[in-house]
Symmetry: C2
Subunit: 240 residues, 2 copies
């Protein structure tokens, strides 16, 4: 079955935050670095979790029409400004805030990501399908060595995932049928929204996304075309 699947799929598009890169560990690293450099005590893990927790509500403000289309860099900054108050982090210059916000451009890949993508790239078109903006994704890929064939972002559709428009965009831009494109993600709801637009689905387990000792995402009622423990196993299962 997986052999057949690999045969009909021509492009793999990847969710990025949590699926390709370890946003939480990377943001903790960045915040700890700032904490040391500035001599300010910050609970880096809570700071990282709060920053990420602000993300869905911020996108919802755009969806509701309260805000115009806004790229994630700017949503991250809006959330950050609130967080600096909440966490009582003061004394940062504007340049230091800009640099901290760019931490999202410097996320580290999971250990298997570059090797697995490099292998998958031999057989498939590989690209991003992220709510991250194009500039963020390009900078991240340069730093981390992610070998994308194409950088696709919700920014190009002016619709964040899980809006349907975000999933229709990759097949449209690549000139492929929806069923020739597979979304790879660690998040069942992202995959379910892709499947509703006719894309194939690849579920990759990232048990450490939210830190140690957290429950894996609930997959009850979900069906995925392929499930893998990491990108190397995904390559194996897709015949790459």
């Amino acid at each position: 079955m997986n052999g057949n699947l690999g045969g009909s799929v021509k492009a793999l598009v990847f969710d990025v935050f949590g699926t390709v890169v370890d946003w939480r560990g990377s943001i903790i690293r960045e915040v700890e670095g700032l904490s040391r450099a500035k001599g300010i005590a910050i609970d880096a893990a809570r700071f990282a979790d709060d920053w990420r927790a602000g993300y869905q509500p911020a996108m919802q403000r755009v969806r509701s029409g309260e805000l115009p289309w806004t790229r994630i860099d700017d949503l991250h900054r809006m959330i950050l400004d609130g967080l600096l108050v909440k966490h009582a982090v003061s004394g940062l210059s504007e340049a230091e805030k800009v640099e901290l916000n760019r931490a999202w451009h410097r996320l580290d890949p999971w250990p298997d990501a570059v090797q697995g993508l490099t292998r998958l790239k031999r057989r498939f078109i590989i690209g991003t399908l992220s709510n991250g903006n194009v500039g963020l994704l390009v900078n991240m890929a340069k730093r981390a060595g992610l070998p994308w064939d194409v950088v696709l972002s919700a920014e190009l559709a002016h619709h964040y995932k899980p809006d349907p428009e975000a999933y229709r965009m990759p097949p449209d831009l690549l000139g492929l049928a929806p069923a020739e494109v597979m979304l790879v993600a660690a998040h069942p709801n992202d995959l379910a929204a892709a499947a509703r637009q006719g894309l194939k689905t690849g579920f990759v387990l990232r048990p450490l996304e939210h830190g140690p000792n957290r429950k894996p995402p609930d997959t009850t009622g979900h069906h995925f075309d392929v499930t893998a423990g990491d990108f190397n196993e995904l390559a194996e299962r897709l015949g790459a």
Copy 2:
């Protein structure tokens, strides 16, 4: 001066047809292949030149509003259907016409292109800025080994070059100032239009674009930030 230039520029975006790939030689190769396979006599060089000559008028039909936004794959096909009549090429199935039209996805790079881009990629973000649609550019890059960091197309702006919107798009999407982006092209008018939007310009000589014994493009009255004989020389001049 070129050292300073390389220091302020962060991204290089490349015109593709003629600058990165030899469209004429590649289309001749494809048409000759079809001619042999089908046993039809075709003047492949004239066919290639006629196909390319149809391209500016076809884009103009979109600019004028006569046609809605149309990707280049579909413009190429409209031109092709007329050319098959003009060149008295009959007996092609629909599948064969589709395959011939995809010749534009199979253009060969100039001999220095992959090596030069690989070198430039170490120092700069490198991407396309082509009127070719995203799918065409991605397929071309996979086949030819063009190591783009990002595939940008007029398709993303819904404006063909040399419309101003096409040149504003790369700095906008990459989060850069216009002067941090250089267009590299073999065509003075493309570069002049980029410069009017504040981009830097790199002129690369491609004397064989239109075949042997053709005059080089007229550069009278043009100024370029850097001029190079090929992509390796460009890398040299930009300190990459």
